[in-house]
């Protein structure tokens, strides 16, 4: 933990404690929600209520988000020396990052605008949004808008910012127990806020509708079409847990 020398309590909180708290909440929250609330685990689609805006907003947003996630994997998880080692010059990497990132950003922001308008202005859809989903969606919007400013405003139109020397080492360090606090503490503010908001999203993830992301049913590709099940005796719920859920049915969303 040599990297923690000279770190203020303020920095320690934002760049070490908060991330670990968020990660712990993320892991424990998912385990708890998965065991406790299978019934509430759903994509909570609102296509029944509104389809015309969803038709464009939803696929564009989701595919854009996949591209953005792929971009983060390349930019944050893969160390700079690896790309260097395979012979990708820094300049080329930066232009690729800015270009592909911008494409993803355009998709995501386009989708977000349509989906946000839908959620805010279509009464039927707005009515389905629970408080925790509002929190998750607003945080997500903050992360996305900042991410787009970084990618388009700084990376493409501005003079670029080498997040691979500041954000990335710190982020990777979190996972081997040696976060480079100094690097992120001196990063540009916009990246800092982006990162903090992202941790907040991670923390509320297991309690919001975002859990549906883990249920993308890839195994449908191999599954036989018709499913049969026999009726067997199942164990009843543990006393005292019968029917308890994360959300109550019958209350408004």
């Amino acid at each position: 933990m040599s990297s923690l020398r000279g770190v203020t309590a303020f920095q320690l909180f934002w760049w070490v404690i908060l991330p670990y708290l968020a990660l712990a909440t993320f892991v424990i929250g998912h385990v708890w929600r998965y065991r406790y609330d299978q019934f509430g685990w759903t994509s909570r689609s609102t296509q029944l209520q509104e389809r015309r805006l969803l038709k464009w907003g939803s696929p564009v947003f989701h595919y854009g988000a996949f591209a953005a996630i792929a971009g983060h994997v390349v930019g944050i998880l893969i160390p700079e020396r690896w790309t260097r080692a395979v012979g990708i010059p820094e300049n080329a990497y930066r232009w690729f990052s800015a270009g592909a990132g911008t494409l993803a950003a355009v998709l995501v922001i386009g989708g977000v605008i349509v989906l946000a308008a839908r959620r805010l202005f279509v009464g039927r859809v707005r009515a389905t949004t629970s408080p925790v989903d509002w929190v998750a969606l607003i945080l997500l919007a903050v992360v996305i808008v900042l991410g787009i400013v970084e990618t388009v405003g700084v990376g493409l139109l501005g003079h670029g910012y080498d997040y691979r020397r500041s954000v990335s080492p710190w982020f990777r360090g979190l996972f081997d127990g040696s976060p480079d606090v100094a690097a992120i503490a001196h990063a540009s503010l916009i990246y800092q806020v982006h990162a903090v908001a992202a941790w907040a999203v991670i923390a509320v993830w297991p309690f919001s509708r975002l859990v549906h992301a883990w249920s993308y049913p890839v195994w449908y590709l191999w599954r036989p079409f018709i499913v049969y099940r026999s009726r067997v005796a199942g164990r009843p719920n543990e006393p005292g847990t019968s029917g308890r859920r994360w959300r109550k049915i019958g209350v408004r969303y």
């Binding site: 019934f39 759903t42 029944l48 249920s215 993308y216 067997v232 164990r235 009843p236 847990t241």
Partner: protein, 533 residues
Amino acid sequence: MRVMAQVCMVMNLDKCIGCHTCSVTCKQTWTNRPGVEYVYFNNVETKPGLGYPARYEDQGQWKGGWALDRKGRLRLRAGGRVRRLLSIFYNPDLPTIEDYHDPFTYDYARLITAPSGTRAPSVSARSVLTGREMNPRWGANWEDDLAGAPQRALADPNIVAMSERVRLEFESVFMFYLPRICEHCLNPSCVASCPSGAMYKRAEDGIVLVDQDRCRGWRFCVSGCPYKKVYFNHRTGKAEKCTLCFPRIEAGLPTICSETCVGRLRYLGLVLYDADAVTAAAATRDPEDLYEAQLGVFLDPEDPAVLAEAANAGIPHDWLGAARRSPAYALIARHRVALPLHPEFRTMPMVWYIPPLSPVADVTAAAGYDDTDPDAVFATIDALRIPLEYLANLFTAGRVAPVRDALRRLSVIRSVMRATQLGLDPPLERAVEAGLGSADVEDLFRLLAIARYEDRYVVPPAHAEEAGRLLAQHSLSGCSLESEGGPGMGGDGVSGFHLAGAAAGGVAGRDADGRLHLRVTQTSPTSRPGADR
């Protein structure tokens, strides 16, 4: 041959008076909860009419059920698996709430909170979805008794399929009621469409259910069902469907819609079928042959070879007895008076209908003939292209002969029994022409006219000895009806009959060859159309 048992329903449309008692009792039992206000596991439609949701029968629009690809293989009409996963963010074939109806309630409080005055206070409709005032424009029984038919009913997909000349005669027409529940199909496209594997067909009795804990709200079952009998709960974000009242069926009782049917027109019984033959039958090339093909899948419960196979497959002895007494098998296969609804959807539906003779008899009477005279009725049946073609579009993918034969048999029974009661000469030769022996006439008379409770419902109780033994070690905590998401539905089941879920997986299945497992991953090779894709 792999014998399986299926609880099957038959409805005698001649007797339906369109009272909606079945819908109401079903609603009170299963869907009187928030999120499913617009849901009718049982609904009654006036035909001709658009149905509920509007024009659900038009698979060109909704892409429900199965279709044959160019090589004649069975595939989901909405496209393959990859296509489904790619369109998971927006399902192009999903009806919206407008196709059902915006659920509404009334602002009753205004009746007592309105300021005193000379005018009686009135209440207006409020959308359940938004809480705002709204104007109802469509609903589950909007077209009751042909209301609005001149403007709308010509868009009925079964009418659209008829020839121009016939369509123009529509005004002179006929009308009947079509009560509908989930068909609990032998080849259910809802199950095949569910990417989560949350839907399944029960191995014991063929009831198709949604596991509420596994459903992730991908909503492909809703669009995949050609009968639109899976619904999306907009509060819970999960799919729900008709359960064939499985807690009642397991206890040997008829479904609530049957129990309360005012016309006493519903029949419940077992049908044995060869599960290995289902896929091939569903892939029959000519849609008009699908009715016969489905009959071919059913097994004769009197055949000793079938009974031996069934016993081998673990079907209990009393179930085989019930299969032999099944009114469903008698009406469908022995006497051939019941027909499937839209066999061309290729899901092998298991709720069958005895076509209504009354519209035909009415026309006969209107023409001044004796409507119990089989000759006059036969002549009318042949002359009347409208009901026949229309009924054929509903029940036999357009082939008129089976409908005509069924109607003839119904008409013959009426005249034979009438003559018998009046001490006249029964026209037995007519019966023979229609393919009925005198024992058949008696049997049909007993089933259709006397229709006693114990003849209509032959439902063997489920065998739960094993389940009871295992459950005895635990005490159930709380009433199962209190479980959220509604009673049953594969969630917290009814005491003694918990469904095999993830927790129960791993218990050995009944079939030693591993074709039927408890785990969802387990399935039957017979029903793997397109598995080679």
